[in-house]
Symmetry: C2
Amino acid sequence: MPQDQTKTYQAKVFVTLKPSILDPQGRTVERSLSHLGQQVSGVRVGKYIELQLEGERGEVESRLKDMAENVLSNPVMENVRWELEEAALEPA
Amino acid sequence: MPQDQTKTYQAKVFVTLKPSILDPQGRTVERSLSHLGQQVSGVRVGKYIELQLEGERGEVESRLKDMAENVLSNPVMENVRWELEEAALEPA
């Protein structure tokens, strides 16, 4: 059975305001778009964070969960989700 | 052949700084994580925007492309990509 290997992983973290929290930035974008003739609704502005981690898959997943929930987002006001994939090898 | 129908679509827009642009916010996050004992690299902080549009699929796609490229992002400094899907029906 192959041993779990240390690899470089690319993580993508999506932080969004909870639906019950007002989003003034989103409202502003919505009004600006409306003034430009673009009718849209429900604009919510969140954060999209990319980062790289090294380690074994399970350990990296657990570190990413910890960072996403406790550092990159505010659990009182925000929801967070993330994706993890092996980083593409850099061209030499 | 079914006619193209007016529907509500949910759009997700991802705005990231171009790789050549320095990201001081990302550097700060990286240092903060390092002080907390989390070694990560290549932290980049972008925006994640959700919005809803109504219309026919083709027209909505073209409006979204216009908004994403010309309003929601700055083409000089940022890259932008987006996803579009039919919005789930709200429970009555």
